[in-house]
């Protein structure tokens, strides 16, 4: 049986761990609120952008002269997976889930005989991808210095990815991140961002009948496409950020509760041991006194 001293130390150590997890939970909750707000603030822009893209796409026919970002390279052989993870851990299965979704997609593509490359955003996906697909990481975008992702960061990533698409013989670009549903649920999603997938031309497109364009449709579209990609990436960064804090909050809440359970268990053990020691001592004294 563990000595009293050892038990006491153990309890103290678990208690300080609990203090840390509790603090992390509180911090994550506060940051979650902020991240959620900025994710919500970004929504109107994305919505309007999508609406404009839809109305433009219905006007411009995809032909050989269409921008490469829209029409694609005509091949489907080389795929680039942009994998957005967080920089920190201690968030339960958050990063694991994103990486798993990306891996599933990558394995499917490889099984079809395609070439797959990875473009990592954030630090946490690296270890697994490095181990499973060595030499297939073409770049890692460092986000460790970014505290609150801004549109400029998304644009930098978008520009880098687009450049590689234009010059490095990549045919399709996918984006993987976790969509924020609630603090408890983050769903990893993957979607194609280049070539820009055809927008559903539903109800929004029909209404704008005779729109005048300045400069013409093609030029506006050419200017819009890189921006639309940046918007996708920006959204991914924000959703990831919110999702990460949500996952961290949940994970730390669980950790705090587990630490509490452990402290209870250890305390009971400590008390029992102490009482046993006292009883033994008493028995010794009494039997000693009786012997006299």
């Amino acid at each position: 049986m563990a000595s009293l001293k050892a038990l006491k130390n153990r309890i103290a150590s678990v208690k300080s761990t609990q203090k840390i997890t509790k603090a992390m939970k509180t911090v994550a909750a506060a940051k979650l609120r902020r991240a959620q707000q900025s994710a919500e603030a970004a929504r109107p822009y994305a919505e309007r952008m999508a609406a404009v893209m839809a109305s433009l796409a219905s006007k411009v026919a995809i032909g050989p002269e269409s921008p490469k970002l829209l029409a694609g390279t005509g091949k489907q052989d080389t795929h680039l997976i942009v994998l957005c993870t967080s920089d920190r851990g201690l968030a339960g299965g958050f990063n694991t889930n994103i990486v798993r979704a990306a891996r599933r997609a990558a394995d499917g593509l490889i099984a079809d005989g395609k070439t797959v490359y990875f473009y990592l955003v954030g630090r946490k996906g690296r270890a697994v991808i490095q181990r499973l697909y060595p030499r297939q990481i073409i770049h890692q975008y460092d986000t460790s210095a970014i505290r609150q992702p801004g549109f400029a960061d998304a644009q930098a990533i978008a520009r880098d990815v687009t450049d590689r698409y234009m010059t490095d013989g990549i045919d399709v670009v996918h984006l993987f991140y976790a969509e924020f549903r609630s603090a408890l649920v983050q769903e990893p999603v993957g979607r194609q961002i280049i070539p820009v997938p055809p927008v559903e031309t539903g109800k929004t497109a029909g209404a704008s009948a005779a729109v005048e364009y300045e400069p013409d449709e093609e030029e506006i579209l050419a200017e819009l496409l890189p921006r639309a990609i940046a918007v996708h990436i920006y959204r991914a960064l924000l959703e990831n950020q919110a999702g990460f804090f949500g996952a961290q909050m949940t994970a730390m809440d669980n950790a705090t509760r587990n630490a509490g359970d452990m402290i209870n268990r250890l305390t009971i053990q400590y008390n029992r041991t102490r009482q046993a020691a006292i009883t033994t001592e008493l028995v010794e004294i009494i039997s000693g006194a009786e012997a006299l």
């Binding site: 005048e212 300045e214 400069p215 506006i220």
Partner: protein, 89 residues
């Protein structure tokens, strides 16, 4: 005269959403003013200033510097999507 519904949106937030009299937008091929009931129109922006006239031509316009983006006029009003917009407020 009916007011023009004006919206200025950046990726980070919705900067403005209000009814105004007229907005002058710096388009790539020249500035253009938008009043209520403008025909559907779309243009890219050059870096410059948006001038918002709240109640009439005689107003001192509020000037909002914007960078990159585009403007869309449809039956609901004017929407400016800018990459950056600096406002005093």
């Amino acid at each position: 005269m009916a007011d023009l519904q004006f919206e200025l949106v950046t990726p980070e937030r919705l900067v403005r959403s209000e009814a105004v009299f007229m907005v002058v937008v710096p388009g790539t091929e020249g500035d253009f003013g938008v009043l209520a009931g403008h025909a559907p129109f779309m243009s890219t922006l050059r870096n410059g200033e948006i001038a918002v006239y709240r109640s009439g031509f005689g107003d001192t316009p509020e000037r909002i510097p914007v960078e990159g983006g585009f403007a869309e006029v449809n039956e609901r009003g004017l929407t400016v999507l800018a990459e950056r917009a600096e406002t005093a407020a």
